[in-house]
Symmetry: C2
Subunit: 321 residues, 2 copies
Amino acid sequence: MAVYTEVSDEALAAFLAEYDLGAVQSFKGIAEGVENSNFLLVCESGRYILTLYEKRVKKDDLPFFIGLMEHLAQRGVTCPLPVRSRQGEALGRLAERPAAIVTFLDGLWIRRPTARHCAKVGEALAKMHRAGDGFALSRPNALSIGGWPALLAAAEARADEVAPGLAGEAAQALAQLERAWPAGLPEGVIHADLFPDNVFFLGENLSGLIDFYFACNDALVYDLAICLNAWCFEPDASFNITKGRALIGEYERVRRLEPDEVEALPILARGAALRFMLTRLVDWLNVPPGAKVVPKDPLEYLKKMRFHAAIKTARDYGLLR
Amino acid sequence: MAVYTEVSDEALAAFLAEYDLGAVQSFKGIAEGVENSNFLLVCESGRYILTLYEKRVKKDDLPFFIGLMEHLAQRGVTCPLPVRSRQGEALGRLAERPAAIVTFLDGLWIRRPTARHCAKVGEALAKMHRAGDGFALSRPNALSIGGWPALLAAAEARADEVAPGLAGEAAQALAQLERAWPAGLPEGVIHADLFPDNVFFLGENLSGLIDFYFACNDALVYDLAICLNAWCFEPDASFNITKGRALIGEYERVRRLEPDEVEALPILARGAALRFMLTRLVDWLNVPPGAKVVPKDPLEYLKKMRFHAAIKTARDYGLLR
């Protein structure tokens, strides 16, 4: 949870003077989101989220993220829609940081997803993949396999403090993945971070996707591999194949996987687990003094890496063919 | 900023089933408030704040706080109104903590108050003092002068780490205050923590008072002394007499101070400064590992203590008689 930056009255008023939102009725910091500072902004015209982009988000990437949300929203994906100023700008500056206003999405994120939630996520992910088609901008995935050696290098000297043998196990997994990593899979815009806290539900219905700040161009099925990791394991790190079947099955009702994608799924799932293990490990070893965010446990993803390493075929995730 | 407790989907649904609020549309942790966990709750029937009372709030005090908000709201004070369940209960239990739902108040808190804001606060404070009349419950002020020796004892061994000589200066001030502390002043329900972040404005108009979790029975003018400290000093710790005049003047338009209250104001203001210096000092020296709240600077209030020690008469705060 996070609000890293205080916004003064005068600065907020000056910023909002550029928009046609009506008078401000409320402005409250939100205790969610790790990378940026987020505020609930209520105006006469409705509810919005105001985001200040903190240092971990590269300024040059912002037009991609903002543009993607506009592109997807216009194509029927329920995601935050950036609000443009009277000058037509979706990106402004507030409290010495890049800042944007987006529409507020109703819904709650699900702390303990069921197979029905997984089914809805699979459907929404595939629809997002289809809707991303034709988006003009592109952004490479800095956290795909090419970025993992640098993460491992940043963490390996102290990795064994977290679990004995962790550095060696990660290095071995990385070497195996580098040898086996597939090329030539169907690519497109992926969300790359579609964890439960980024998916809103109203009752049983999925009401929105948020937080596109890891979105990038990569193999579409890699996004599905990330979701398998994020949605289909139980708290004890066991894999729930009913959830996997729901997630993959509903994904395929919208976008059928090609044979090479099916074949690649186990290796991509293992890679996705390594990616989240490594970023969590780096965060875990580098908690700054006065940190406002409790780091997530890297060992959860070490267990998932091990699970995927033993998988032979996508049928073991619940694929029904 | 703070959300200390996670609320599961099932627990939230079970809790809300006791209320007539309609379907939930949103539920987000709010990065404000130090003592409790606060959530924005949007339902079909409107917007609410759901509060989980964490360990620093004594459970036995909750009926006083909840009852006071109801009493004040019914008498025209714009403050959160507790929402009762279908069973008629304003206090429930969620995530193993006492929990309450109150109405959401529009408004923003003012980061840099002007004299006009101080005037509105003075008026609202006096109206609250009048509206508190007749409230059936009572609660002693645990953080008045009788509680300060214990705070000093908790901090004094390490106080000089924060500023050389601080322990001795605080002990001397406490001894002087104990000799001079007035008795027999008009008493009533006081807010006791009416800092800028607990007062909402919509434009120039005060739209609400929040956070009654330090409210208690004490000398009414002590509340005014707290507000002089909280609202009328500049960031460099200089006293702004224009703000003092506005605060006291508008207070008196609603509730005129009696002669003994006027006489007591300098000593009460010094005592209020010592009280906040001591609680901040204890917090400063006891930041827990993984703390989510940055402690406030006790030295800001040391400077205010020194200012008040040199004050002879309430005219020096801006009283115009």
